[in-house]
């Protein structure tokens, strides 16, 4: 599904990614990407989504080269993402945060807005229905008309997942979805992810919460100082010397 071939990325003299290569297949529902702070995880996500262009290497999705495509075009190929810092559209309602997402919409053409109102209305109704279904799944229905700025941090994280669901992507890059949210909400999030996996969605997850990574991910990739140092199952990752050293130093211990 997603293939990265020998990706290099630097900012000035700081080499953030070095020779990173791996492939994600459709058979693994959730793949984890872990690594110490500053190891290049978010940069890697930004390279895949097209917000940063790599210095060297190739990114392919379903066999299609993404290298020259801007982020807005990559989204159409079935990729989507959430952001590390929850990026809410605070001046819009919770429902609008979802209905604004699908692309293209008939109503985004001014000609159609003025001269084909029925066509626009019909599609708008479908989008609204889909958005309300998603809010139901996220247990946010009662807040549909509330301003997104009034949501708690955890609810915002859920809404971000909702935004992603509006595009029906094949692969979602989740950047620390559980950072700063309480254990109850984390379990709700886990259930939602499991539901989405059953619907055929695949996830590539950056996370620091190791127990959660062990619970969700069949496969784990570990980045350290921009290099891929481990690729295997979560249990093996916890025992791997390189991983332990990267996280906690030479005599470290990773909590299960």
């Amino acid at each position: 599904m997603l293939e990265l071939h020998s990706i290099y990325k630097s900012f000035g003299g700081n080499q953030v990614l070095r020779d990173v290569s791996f492939a994600l297949d459709n058979k693994t529902p959730i793949t984890g990407l872990i690594g110490p702070n500053g190891s290049g995880k978010s940069t890697l996500f930004h390279v895949v989504m097209g917000f940063y262009s790599q210095d060297k290497g190739r990114v392919l999705f379903n066999g299609q080269h993404l290298d020259t495509l801007p982020p807005e075009k990559r989204c159409h190929s079935g990729l989507s993402c959430t952001f590390q810092d929850s990026r809410m559209l605070t001046f819009m309602t919770v429902l609008e945060n979802l209905t604004a997402i699908p692309t293209p919409q008939h109503g985004e053409s001014l000609v159609k807005s003025f001269f084909s109102p029925l066509l626009v209305h019909r599609q708008e109704k479908e989008i609204q229905e889909k958005a309300r279904d998603i809010l139901e799944l996220l247990s946010l229905s009662s807040l549909a008309d509330a301003p997104a700025g009034s949501l708690s941090y955890g609810q915002r994280k859920l809404l971000e997942i909702g935004r992603v669901m509006m595009t029906d992507p094949q692969l979602v890059l989740l950047d620390e979805p559980t950072a700063g949210i309480n254990p109850t909400l984390i379990q709700s999030l886990v259930k939602i992810l499991e539901t989405l996996v059953q619907r055929g969605m695949r996830f590539f997850l950056v996370e620091h919460n190791m127990p959660l990574v062990s619970q969700l991910c069949d496969r784990v990739l570990v980045l350290d100082a921009g290099e891929l140092i481990f690729d295997g199952c979560a249990t093996a990752a916890k025992k791997d010397k390189n991983v332990i050293q990267a996280y906690l130093g030479s005599d470290g211990y990773v909590e299960a």
């Binding site: 989504m49 917000f51 801007p70 982020p71 807005e72 075009k73 989204c75 159409h76 989507s80 993402c81 952001f83 990026r87 809410m88 559209l89 605070t90 001046f91 819009m92 309602t93 609008e96 209905t99 604004a100 997402i101 692309t103 293209p104 919409q105 008939h106 109503g107 985004e108 053409s109 001014l110 807005s113 003025f114 626009v120 708008e124 301003p147 997104a148 700025g149 009034s150 935004r163 509006m166 595009t167």
Partner: protein, 292 residues
Amino acid sequence: MEYLLHIGIVCLIYILFASSLNLELGCAGLYNFGHVGFFAIGSYTTALLTLSGYSVWFGLLAAMLVAGLSGLIFSWPVLRLTGDYFGIASLAFAEMVRLFLLNERWLTRGPMGLPGIPRVEILGYSGNTVTLLTALVITVVSLFCFKKILTSPFGRTLKLIREDEHVARAFGKDVVSFKTRTMAIGSAFGGLAGGLWAHYLGYISPNDFSLQLTVLVLLCVVLGGRGTLLGPIVGAVLVVSVGEGLRFLPLPASMTAGVAHIQSMLFGLVLILLMLRRPQGIIAESHLIQET
């Protein structure tokens, strides 16, 4: 009575002008400090055409088209700039337009301006009442168009882009295309306001389109409330009526010439206070909630 008609006409033109800027600044987050350039393009287009014998209606339509096309051409390279850089480029554009109008005498008569611009005429009548009615109809129809745009998925996507361009791009929105279309529409209606202005005053010169007018229309939008339909209407009515009201201040004879300066200082002060105390303006967007 004539004075009240004058205030009414100026209010309507300012409402149209401010609403067109609101589409760019309030809805799409485009800090266009050069909107007056498109107002000037509209004014000169209709003035030159009507002085050459074309009808006022054709002139106004052409003012819209030429200003809209200028907005499109301007935004093509400039919209790749963001934030402050876009603001500076737009300011430079307005100054370029003013200098063009000032220096290309073969076309615009330069600083001498264009006198004798025909007034709006309906069934042989051409007084201030006719101008007021025409401005009213054009402004109401334009406001209807703005409402349609603001409440359409197009308007919703503009808000999305204004809120977070990064998110908009991640979800497949062609940000440059949306901004370009917004600039073209905003400029077209700005040009239409300029056209009405020219036909009302009957005389225009390049210095009418200075930075002061930009600040005034910006104040209308910011004071009234960005991103709302009602905001620029309230803002324009307040700015025009307060500006006119200052004329009646019981100032000593030696200071009457300074009314314009007092007006500028007052508006500047209002703008600073607004930014500090109520940045959302008088009419706040219904979902205006600050990040908690």
